[in-house]
C-alpha cells in the first residue's frame, strides 16, 4: 500500500538563502510570540500537554486507511490540533512535531526548518483556525455546520501550506513556478480531502466521548483583528506572486485549442478585468497585481455583505 505522502517537508539544498532567512524570520517571530503567550505558570502546565500531544500527532500520522488503487491516506494533524487545543498551543505542538521530524528523522532539512515551520506550524494552524471561525459564523447555527467548518478548515490548512511550499520553491528557483505551484496545489487539494475526512471523524468521536472538549469559545476582538490582518497579508502575498503564474492556456482552453473548437467561444457582453489585467496598464506584472487587488476587494465586499445580512437577521 503506497501512502499518499504529504510532500511538504522541504529538504536542504533547494531553497535560496533569502527564502531560508525569510522563513526563519517569519516563523521565528510568530513562534516567539506563542512562547511569550505561554510564559510563566501556564508554561509549566502546558509543557507536558505539548510534548505528549506532539508524540500523539506523530503516532496518529501512522494511522492510515486504504483509498483506491493501492494508495492510502493519513493525517497531518495541524487542523485537528488547532480545533482541539486552540491556535497557540497547536502552533507549539506542530513546531515540536516538525522540529523533531527534521532533527531526528531527517524529514525536512535543518536549514529549511524555518520555512517548513512557517508552512506547517504557522500557516497550517492559522489558516485552519481562521477558516473554521469564518465558516462557523455562516453555518454554525446548523447541526451539520460544525462538521462542514472542520472539513473546510482541515482542507484549507493543507492546501494553503502546500501553496506556500510551492511558492517558496519557485522563488528559490528550485522548480519552475508554472509547474510547482499548480502541482503542489493540485496534489494537496486531493490530499486535503483525506485530511478533512479524518479530522471530521476524529471530532465526531471527541464530540461523542468528551463534548466539553469542543465547546467553541467566543471570538475575542484581538483574535478577530488577527484573522483580518493575517487574511489581508496572505492575500497581498498571493496577489504579489500572481505574475509568477503560467501564461499558458488552462486545461479547458488547451483542449479546446487542440480539438479546434476554441473559435466557437463567444466573447462576454463586457470585460471588467480581461485576462486578469487592467486595460489601461497593459499586460505587465503591475497590471496583474492591481487586477488581483480589485478582485480580492470585490470578493471581500460580497462576503462581508452576506455575513452582515446574516448577522442582522440573527439580531446581533
Amino acid at each position: 500500500m503506497v501512502p499518499l505522502i504529504l510532500a511538504m517537508h522541504i529538504p536542504d539544498g533547494f531553497l535560496a538563502p533569502p527564502v531560508l532567512v525569510g522563513g526563519w524570520l517569519l516563523a521565528g517571530l510568530v513562534i516567539a510570540w506563542a512562547l511569550r503567550a505561554l510564559d510563566g505558570d501556564a508554561a509549566a502546565h502546558r509543557l507536558p500537554l505539548i510534548g505528549v500531544m506532539a508524540a500523539a500527532i506523530f503516532a496518529a500520522q501512522m494511522l492510515n486507511f486504504p483509498i483506491a488503487g493501492g494508495t492510502s491516506g493519513h493525517l497531518l494533524g495541524a487542523a485537528l490540533a488547532t480545533l482541539v487545543l486552540g491556535p497557540w498551543a497547536a502552533m507549539l505542538v506542530m513546531t515540536t512535531v516538525v522540529g523533531v521530524q527534521a532533527l531526528f528523522f531527517q524529514d525536512g532539512g535543518l536549514l529549511a526548518l524555518g520555512v517548513n515551520l512557517l508552512n506547517m506550524a504557522v500557516i497550517g494552524v492559522w489558516v485552519a483556525y481562521a477558516v473554521q471561525r469564518l465558516v462557523n459564523l455562516a453555518l454554525g447555527r446548523f447541526r451539520w455546520g460544525q462538521s462542514v467548518s472542520a472539513f473546510v478548515a482541515a482542507w484549507a490548512s493543507i492546501f494553503f501550506a502546500a501553496l506556500a511550499c510551492g511558492l517558496e520553491l519557485a522563488l528559490s528557483g528550485a522548480s519552475p513556478a508554472a509547474v510547482v505551484i499548480p502541482a503542489m496545489g493540485g496534489i494537496h487539494a486531493l490530499i486535503g480531502l483525506v485530511e478533512g475526512a479524518i479530522t471530521v471523524g476524529a471530532l465526531a468521536f471527541l464530540r461523542a466521548a468528551r463534548p466539553s472538549l469542543l465547546q467553541p469559545a467566543p471570538l475575542p476582538p484581538a483574535e478577530r483583528r488577527g484573522i483580518l490582518v493575517g487574511g489581508l497579508l496572505t492575500t497581498l502575498l498571493l496577489v504579489a506572486a500572481a505574475p509568477l503564474a503560467s501564461t499558458a492556456p488552462d486545461g479547458l482552453e488547451r483542449v479546446a485549442e487542440d480539438l479546434g473548437f476554441i473559435t466557437r467561444a463567444t466573447e462576454p457582453a463586457f470585460h471588467l478585468l480581461p485576462d486578469y489585467t487592467l486595460p489601461a496598464l497593459g499586460e505587465g506584472a503591475l497590471s496583474t497585481i492591481i487586477a488581483g487587488l480589485i478582485g480580492a476587494a470585490l470578493v471581500l465586499g460580497v462576503a462581508w455583505g452576506v455575513l452582515s445580512i446574516r448577522a442582522r437577521r440573527a439580531g446581533h
Binding site: P17, P48, G51, F58, F65, G73, H74, S175, V180
Partner: protein
C-alpha cells in the same frame, strides 16, 4: 523517515565527539553548501570528499549511502528544468518537433540541485546518526534554543514509543475486526473508512490528553518548576573549540573559495 529513536548510535570516533562541536561544524557545512554559488562544481566536489572522509574516518558503520540516496519527492520537482532551461540541446524525448528537448544547461542545473540535497542530507545524517537524542537536545539548548521547545521535544521523544505502540495496537484491532469476503471488499465506503480512521485518531488524542495530565501531576510531585534538567556538559578545552571553529570556518567558506 528513519525511526531510530530508542537505539543508541553505534560506537565510533564521531559518536565519541562532543555534540556541541558536531552541531557547530555540521551547521557550518550546511550553510556552506547552501551558499555555494551555482556552477562551483569544484566546491561541491570538495564538500562531497570532505563528507566521505569524515564518514569513513568517523562512522564507517553508519549506512550513510542509504540516507544520502533517500531522494525526497522534491527531487521530482526539479526535473522540469531539464527541458525548461534554455541551452544547447542534448537529447529529445518523444517525437521530433513535439517531444521534450533536454538541454545541457538544464541537466547541469538539475544535477546541481540534487547534489546539494544529497550532500545536505548526508551532513545531517552524520550528525544525527552519531549523536544520542538527549545529547543533541542539550547541545541545541547550549546554542540558545528556547527551553520550552527543548523540553517539549524531549517529552515528545520520550513518549513517542508509547504512542507509536498505541497506534499499532489500534491498527491491529481494526484489522482483527475487518474481514475479507470472496467478491466483497472489506472496510465499507471511503467515507466510512475515513470516519473510522478519524475515530482512532480521536481516541489517541483523548488518551494523550489524559496522559499529559497524569504526566504533569507526576512531574509536579517530583518538584518540576518549568525546566527539565539534564546533566551538564563537561567543559571543553580550548584546543577542541579552536579545531572545531577552524573546521566550521573552512566548511562555511569552502564554497566561496573553490571554483
Amino acid at each position: 523517515m528513519r525511526l531510530h529513536i530508542g537505539t543508541e548510535p553505534l560506537p565510533s570516533r564521531l559518536q565519541r565527539l562532543d555534540a556541541r562541536l558536531k552541531l557547530l561544524v555540521g551547521v557550518a557545512l550546511l550553510l556552506g553548501i547552501a551558499l555555494t554559488p551555482r556552477g562551483h562544481w569544484g566546491a561541491l566536489g570538495a564538500y562531497a570528499t570532505l563528507l566521505l572522509v569524515l564518514w569513513r574516518w568517523g562512522a564507517p558503520g553508519l549506512p550513510l549511502w542509504r540516507t544520502a540516496l533517500w531522494l525526497s519527492p522534491f527531487a521530482l520537482a526539479t526535473l522540469p528544468w531539464l527541458w525548461l532551461t534554455s541551452g544547447p540541446p542534448m537529447l529529445t524525448l518523444g517525437r521530433a518537433g513535439t517531444g521534450l528537448i533536454i538541454t545541457q544547461t538544464g541537466l547541469l542545473r538539475v544535477t546541481d540541485l540534487i547534489l546539494r540535497m544529497v550532500l545536505s542530507i548526508a551532513t545531517a545524517g552524520l550528525i544525527v546518526g552519531t549523536t544520542p537524542w538527549t545529547a543533541l537536545l542539550a547541545a541545541l539548548r547550549t546554542f540558545g534554543l528556547p527551553r520550552v521547545l527543548i523540553s517539549s521535544m524531549g517529552l515528545m521523544l520520550h513518549y513517542l514509543g508509547l504512542w507509536v505502540a498505541s497506534a499499532h495496537t489500534l491498527q491491529r484491532a481494526r484489522a482483527a475486526r475487518s474481514f475479507e469476503w470472496p467478491g466483497r471488499r472489506a472496510g465499507g465506503t471511503l467515507a466510512w473508512r475515513a470516519r473510522i480512521t478519524g475515530g482512532m485518531v480521536g481516541n489517541l488524542f483523548l488518551r494523550a490528553l489524559a496522559q499529559s495530565e497524569r504526566t504533569y501531576q507526576a512531574m509536579l510531585a517530583r518538584g518540576f518548576d518549568g525546566e527539565i534538567r539534564t546533566l551538564p556538559f563537561s567543559p571543553l578545552n580550548r584546543r577542541a573549540w579552536a579545531v572545531s571553529l577552524a573546521l566550521a570556518m573552512l566548511g562555511g567558506l569552502l564554497g566561496q573559495l573553490l571554483p
